[in-house]
Symmetry: C2
Subunit: 218 residues, 2 copies
DNA sequence: ACACGCACTGAACACGCGTTTAGTCTGCTG
DNA sequence: CAGCAGACTAAACGCGTGTTCAGTGCGTGT
């Protein structure tokens, strides 16, 4: 388990260890001493390389953000035939950082904001692309729908542990992904309701509240 | 600000203060001393009443779980005309505990498991009811869809801060709720895709992987 | 060979933490 | 009134934390 990381510089090894520790235990509960022990260095060396614990966190944040932002990844929406394969491949690449990402998103660090915005605009781009291709239903509030879809993509990431417990398997394992794909796509293409009664009712109710629909039905 | 809680017993005041502090700062970062100061008591009194910090946490967990579970609430799925009103009312009731709930769900405390299971089975019940009423599209994997819908309901709760930042308003405010309702219902009744190409593609791809659909198309 | 720089360490420091202890005050019960 | 019980506190204890400090050893350039 150590041989793989022996060739890394101590600085990189500390960073990787810290990312794992922060993801596993949370920022507060992960002590410099524990990280140092795990990385095979002294606590003082961490300070020597990074300044202080908070700076180490920032470096980890930026690194993880880089992993998720660097390349164009459509992790979130609409896997088609070959996308499924790439998703399975991406698993290995993103796997170690998923839990870190989850903690970032709820802790509300500045880096998390950047990341969320990036996911959001990625969703927006994919949606625009699909709209141009004539694949989309009209929607009353495209921006809000974009946000909604981003949340739907991120929800499983953030609540990964709960899903794993419920499902009896990791949703981010190959098997879990396969099980998730079909119901998700069904939801996105049919919705779940065969009647528009609920939607119509809400439209009426909102109109009665004096609410005017937000966007254009493109 | 204190007059409202002066009539509470010290024990209840400590519990309420602790819930707010845990929600705001997280369990680790919220110190007994800070909670005590905020509640106007000595740290020792907290120990006197609750035993230790972890027991205090358990009491808070149970209390919050009770708030969300006690009564039948369909916070998650399908607001229709009058449900919108009750949702707005529920806001005040659940508001103070939303952030606490969010932290529970990602920290993975045992109480969170109970809560998640309760939400899940609530979603399942609502779905079964609607299926009996003939309102639902057929779905290939009902249990997985139930999980998906629960996640969709909980996602905005857990990532409340990100949404508020993106939207420029609290999504759990009346205005935010109104803005969210319509796009959500649109998604649930139409989906977003006007073509079944993506879904069909995924079905083919999954079949090629040797995957057989999970549930019955009821 | 020497000196400089840099990765690195062990020991210590101050601090805040959860918790304990010993004790005070108050209100009730006999 | 005595005495008990329980709410409540000030002070202290031990500990683990992030951080600092003084120093060691090694590799490199001169």
């Amino acid at each position: 388990m150590r041989s793989a990381s022996d060739d890394l510089t101590a600085r990189a090894r500390i960073r990787d260890t810290a990312i794992a520790a922060f993801a596993r235990d949370g920022y507060d509960a992960a002590s410099l001493r524990a990280i140092a022990r795990e990385a095979g260095v002294s606590p003082a060396l961490i300070v020597h390389h990074f300044g202080d614990k908070n700076a180490l966190r920032t470096v980890c944040d930026d690194y993880v953000v880089g992993v998720f932002i660097d390349e164009d990844h459509d992790l979130i929406v609409a896997p088609t035939r070959d996308r499924i394969r790439t998703a399975l491949h991406d698993l290995e690449r993103y796997g170690p950082y998923i839990d870190y990402l989850a903690r970032m998103l709820v802790d509300g660090s500045p880096a998390a904001d950047r990341l969320f915005d990036s996911f959001l605009s990625n969703t927006r781009d994919v949606l625009a692309e699909q709209r141009d291709a004539g694949m989309l239903e009209p929607m009353s509030d495209p921006e809000m729908t974009t946000l909604l879809l981003t949340l739907i993509g991120l929800g499983p990431v953030v609540m990964r542990a709960q899903i794993a417990r419920t499902l009896g398997m990791d949703q981010l394992s190959p098997a879990g992904l396969l099980r998730t794909t079909l119901p998700t796509l069904e939801l996105l293409t049919h919705g779940i309701y065969s009647t528009t009664a609920l939607l119509d009712g809400a439209r009426d109710a909102l109109a009665a509240e004096g609410h005017t629909p937000g966007g254009d039905a493109s």
